[in-house]
C-alpha cells in the first residue's frame, strides 16, 4: 500500500505514462476468482508474456515445508509452488519489501510460518529460488528491501527495468538497488548537528541524537530516507524515533530491544561500519567536551529552548 503514496505522478499515472501494463495486482485489479486463475493459466502456458513478477510478503513454506500456511485461494495450490512456476516465466523477479526479499519480520522469533525470502533467507543466499537462480532476463531476484519500501524505490526500479537500464552493477551485495542503498539513513538527518557533538536524547520525543541511547542505527543503515523523505516531509528520525535498519536482512532480530542502544563500558557497540573504533571514541569525547550549550540544552528538550546565537560584526569605525 505504500506505493499508493507516490506523488507527482501518482502510482497509476507512473505506470500508464511509461507503458507499463499492470497485468494483475491483488488490491487494484478487477479480475477475481476464475478470471484470475485463467490469467495465471495463460501465463504458465506461454499465451501471455510476463515481464516482471513482483512479490510482496514472505514465502510461507510451513508447516513442515508443505506450504499449507499460504494456499492460493480457489486453486488448492500452495502459493510457493505458484511463485516457483511464475518465476520461471517472468523476465524479471522482484521482491518488494523486507519480507519478500529476506523473509523479514515474519522470520523473527521461532519463525512459526517457516517464512523465507525469494532468494535469501535472512543474510544467507538460497530462499525459495536458490543461490544460483537467475531470471530469464539474466538478473537475480531484485531485492527492493525496506519495511516499508519507499514508493519511489519501487517505481523507479520498475521504470529502470522497463527501459532496460538496470544491470547487476547497479545492485549491491544483497542485490538491492544501489540507487538507494549507496546512501546512509544518516545522510541528511536533521539531528546531524547533535550527532557531531554527541548531544543525545535521553528519552522519546527529545530533539537530540538517538544513536547513543535510543537504538538508532541510521549511521549503518543503507537507505536514502533522510534525503528522499516520506509522505511529503517525513522520515523515522524526523518523526522522532530510531532508525531500525529495516532495509537490512535480519533487521527483525537485532538481539536487543529496538529502542535501546546496547553498550559495552558505556560505548555503543553498533558504531559506524567504516570508521575505526578508537578514532570514533576519541572524536566523541573531544566533541562532547566542546558541545555548545545550545545543543546540550536542546538535545534533552522536546522543543527548541536555545536559538542559534547571532554573530556580532565588529564595528570597523572605532
Amino acid at each position: 500500500m505504500s506505493v499508493l503514496n507516490a506523488e507527482a505522478p501518482d502510482f497509476y499515472s507512473s505506470l500508464s505514462q511509461n507503458n507499463i501494463n499492470l497485468l494483475w495486482h491483488p488490491s487494484f485489479s478487477e479480475a477475481s476468482g476464475d478470471e484470475f486463475l485463467a490469467l495465471l493459466e495463460a501465463i504458465e502456458s506461454d499465451q501471455i508474456t510476463l515481464d516482471a513478477l513482483c512479490l510482496e510478503g514472505s514465502v510461507m513454506m510451513g508447516p513442515q515445508g508443505s506450504g499449507r500456511f499460504h494456499m492460493l485461494s480457489g486453486s488448492g495450490r500452495p502459493m510457493f509452488k505458484v511463485l516457483q512456476s511464475l518465476a520461471r516465466k517472468a523476465r524479471y523477479t522482484i521482491g518488494i519489501g523486507s519480507c519478500a526479499t529476506f523473509g523479514g519480520i515474519t522470520m523473527s522469533g521461532p519463525n512459526p510460518g517457516e517464512a523465507t525470502g525469494l532468494q535469501y533467507e535472512g543474510r544467507h543466499k538460497g530462499g525459495l529460488l536458490g543461490t544460483d537462480w537467475i531470471s530469464p532476463g539474466q538478473l537475480p531476484v531484485i531485492n527492493i528491501a525496506g519495511c516499508p519500501t519507499h514508493p519511489n524505490w519501487v517505481i523507479e526500479t520498475l521504470l529502470q527495468l522497463s527501459m532496460q537500464e538496470l544491470d547487476t552493477e547497479q545492485l549491491d551485495s544483497f542485490n538491492r538497488p544501489r540507487s538507494y542503498t549507496d546512501h546512509l539513513v544518516h545522510h541528511g538527518c536533521p539531528r546531524n548537528e547533535f550527532y557531531e557533538y554527541k548531544a543525545s536524547a535521553s528519552q522519546a520525543s527529545e530533539q537530540g541524537c538517538l544513536m547513543e541511547h535510543l537504538g538508532c542505527l541510521g549511521t549503518q543503515a543503507r537507505a536514502d530516507c533522510n534525503t528522499r523523505l516520506w509522505n511529503g516531509e517525513g522520515s523515522c528520525l524526523r518523526g522522532g524515533y530510531a532508525c531500525i535498519n529495516c532495509t537490512a536482512p535480519e533487521f527483525e532480530e537485532p538481539g536487543h530491544s529496538f529502542s535501546v542502544t546496547p553498550k559495552i563500558a558505556g560505548i555503543p557497540i553498533g558504531l559506524p561500519t567504516d570508521m575505526p573504533k578508537a578514532w570514533f571514541v576519541a572524536l566523541s569525547s573531544l566533541a562532547k567536551a566542546a558541545t555548545p550549550k545550545r545543543l546540550k540544552v536542546n538535545a534533552t528538550s522536546d522543543h527548541i529552548r536555545v536559538s542559534p546565537g547571532q554573530h556580532q560584526k565588529k564595528d570597523k569605525k572605532a
Binding site: G74, P110, L237, R238, G239, Y241
Partner: protein, 490 residues
C-alpha cells in the same frame, strides 16, 4: 466462478481468490434452488505473529505489530501502545492523545477513501452491467486502474497522508505512537501546516465525493433527506453510488446478524468521539470486554475444551484439526456473533441516518458503504478541532518503565472495526500476546454452537440465479465489509 443454473441437489462451489480485499480470502458456498444455503469463509494465510511476540521486550510490540498490515498499520500501533500504557499504568499526555487521534484518523479516512474508489466501486464497471443506463459513465469514472476518479483521488489521498509525514515520520509502520504519547512534538507553524492539509482534504471531499459541505452530510437524518440531497447534487461520486445502489437493490443484499459492537473510537482523557457499546436486537447496551471469547472449533488451531478470553488465549497451528476450515478464529461476545465496522460504530453512537436506514433493512451492502462515507464527513471537522487544540510549547510524550509483571488490553477502532491487543508481561518480557482484528470478527468461521460468522450469514440466502450476476453479487457482499485479510489471521 461457475455455478449450475438449476440444481435439484445442493451443489458446492469453491470461490477465490478475491482481490481488492487486502489479502487472501477463499469462500465455499452451497447452492440450493438458486440460493446460497450455506457459506464457509476461509482465511488461507497463517504467519504466526502471536508466537513471534512471545519472549520479546514488551516495547518491541510497537515495532512488530504495525507490520502485521500495510494498510491498518497505525491502528495496530495504537492498540499496542494502549495495551502497554494499561500495563504500565500511565496515560498519554494531552498533546500525545490529540496527535495519536490525528494520525489514526488519517489512516482510517484514507482507508475509507481507498475502499470506496479503488476496492468497491470498480465492480460496477464490470461487463455484466453493460446493459445498465449508468454503465458507460461508471466505466469512465470507476473502472479498475483506468477510471478517471483515480487521477484525482490518488493525489488527494497522498497529500492527506502528509499528516503522517509530519506527525508520525511516515506511513505505514511508524514508531511515533508510544504508550505515553507521540515522539514528534510540533512547532507553532507546523500546526498551521497541519490545519491547511486537513482543510485541503475537506475541500477535495466537498468538491469530488459529496458535492456539498461536509456539514450537510453530517446533518442527514433520514432516507428522505438523503434522497433529496442526491437529487439536488447528482454529480457527486456519493450520488453516483446511491443511484447505482438503488437501481440494483443493494439494500436487500448482504444482511448479517444486525448485532453491532464498537470498542469506542478516538479516545481522549475521559471519553470517546464515538462511544463504546453494543447494539443488540434493536437495543443499545453496554460493552463488557470480559465477555470476549475466542472459539477455535473450526480453526486449524489447537483448541482447549472451552473458548478462552484472549488474556488466556493461544494461537498454535494444528493442521490435523478435522473440523477446521480456516486459520481464522471465531471471536464471540457473550456467545454472540458481532458485526464491526463503520456501520457498527455509527449504530452504537446513534447517528440518525444510520439508525433509520438500518432499522428499515439492516446492515447491508448499501448501508455499510453509506456509514463509511458518513465517517469521512464526520471526522474531518473533528480533525480540524484536534489540530487547533494542540499546544506547540507543551510536551507530547511521557516516558515510563514497563513493570516486570503486568497485563493490559488495548481496544481501538480501526477503519474496518474493533481491534484488540491483549498483553501479559512476566519477568520483563512478553508472556502472551493475543490480537483480535476487525475482520476476525466479520469473517470468522463457525463456532462450537455451529453459528456462522457475520460474512457467512450475510451470504446465506443470496439469490444466485444468473451465473455472472451471482459472482459479482457475492463480491459486492464481501467487499461491503471492507475486509482486511492480512490482519484477520496475522
Amino acid at each position: 466462478m461457475s455455478m449450475d443454473k438449476k440444481s435439484p441437489q445442493p451443489t458446492r462451489r469453491l470461490l477465490g481468490p478475491f482481490n481488492r480485499v487486502e489479502g487472501d480470502l477463499e469462500v465455499q458456498v452451497e447452492v440450493e434452488h438458486d440460493r446460497i444455503s450455506r457459506a464457509w469463509v476461509n482465511s488461507p494465510l497463517f504467519r504466526g505473529y502471536e508466537q513471534i511476540l512471545q519472549g520479546k521486550d514488551p516495547l518491541d510490540a510497537l515495532v512488530y505489530t504495525p507490520r502485521i498490515c500495510g494498510i491498518c498499520s497505525v491502528s495496530q500501533s495504537v492498540a499496542a501502545a494502549q495495551a502497554l500504557a494499561a500495563a504500565m499504568n500511565i496515560q498519554p499526555l494531552a498533546n500525545g492523545m490529540l496527535s495519536t487521534n490525528l494520525i489514526l484518523a488519517t489512516e482510517n479516512l484514507a482507508d475509507h477513501l481507498t475502499h470506496f474508489y479503488l476496492f468497491f466501486m470498480p465492480d460496477f464497471a464490470r461487463d455484466c452491467y453493460q446493459d445498465k443506463s449508468w454503465f458507460t459513465p461508471t466505466v469512465q469514472r470507476f473502472k479498475a486502474q483506468t477510471g478517471n476518479a483515480a487521477a484525482v483521488v490518488l493525489p488527494a489521498r497522498a497529500a492527506f497522508l502528509h499528516i503522517t509525514g509530519l506527525l508520525a515520520g511516515k506511513w505505514p509502520h511508524s514508531l511515533a505512537i508510544q504508550p505515553g504519547g507521540t515522539t514528534r512534538p510540533l512547532e507553532a507553524q507546523e500546526r498551521i501546516r497541519l490545519l491547511s492539509t486537513i482543510r485541503n482534504f475537506r475541500h477535495f471531499l466537498q468538491q469530488t465525493l459529496f458535492g456539498v459541505e461536509l456539514e450537510q452530510i453530517i446533518e442527514l437524518d433520514s432516507e428522505q433527506a438523503l434522497q433529496q440531497l442526491i437529487q439536488a447534487h447528482p454529480d457527486s461520486d456519493f450520488a453516483r453510488f446511491i443511484h447505482i445502489a438503488d437501481d440494483l437493490g443493494l439494500s436487500a443484499l448482504g444482511r448479517a446478524s444486525d448485532n453491532f459492537m464498537s470498542y469506542g473510537a478516538y479516545a481522549n482523557a475521559d471519553s470517546h468521539l464515538f462511544k463504546p457499546g453494543l447494539f443488540l436486537q434493536g437495543q443499545s447496551s453496554a460493552f463488557n470486554p470480559q465477555q470476549i471469547r475466542e472459539d477455535l472449533t473450526h480453526s486449524w488451531l489447537s483448541s482447549a475444551a472451552q473458548p478462552k478470553h484472549p488474556f488466556q488465549g493461544s494461537t498454535i497451528p494444528d493442521t490435523d484439526e478435522s473440523n477446521g476450515y480456516s486459520w481464522c478464529k471465531a471471536p464471540r461476545l457473550d456467545g454472540r456473533v458481532m458485526e464491526v465496522g463503520a456501520i457498527a460504530r455509527q449504530m452504537v453512537q446513534g447517528h440518525p441516518l444510520i439508525r433509520k436506514i438500518v432499522e428499515h433493512n439492516g446492515a447491508n451492502v448499501r448501508s455499510r458503504v453509506i456509514a463509511r462515507l458518513l465517517e469521512l464527513a464526520l471526522i474531518v471537522p473533528q480533525m480540524e478541532s484536534w489540530a487547533r487544540q494542540l499546544q506547540p510549547k507543551q510536551p507530547f510524550c511521557v516516558s515510563a518503565k514497563v513493570p516486570a509483571e503486568a497485563q493490559g488490553a488495548g481496544l481501538v477502532e480501526a477503519a474496518r472495526g474493533s481491534l484488540g491487543h491483549w498483553v501479559r508481561i512476566k519477568n520483563g518480557h512478553i508472556l502472551n500476546y493475543q490480537i483480535i482484528a476487525p475482520t476476525t470478527w466479520n469473517f470468522s468461521p463457525r463456532d462450537g454452537q455451529d453459528q456462522p460468522g457475520a460474512l457467512e450469514l450475510a451470504l446465506q440466502d443470496t439469490e444466485v440465479g444468473d451465473e455472472k450476476q451471482a459472482s459479482v453479487k457475492i463480491q459486492h457482499i464481501i467487499r461491503s465489509f471492507d475486509p482486511c485479510m492480512v490482519c484477520t489471521v496475522h
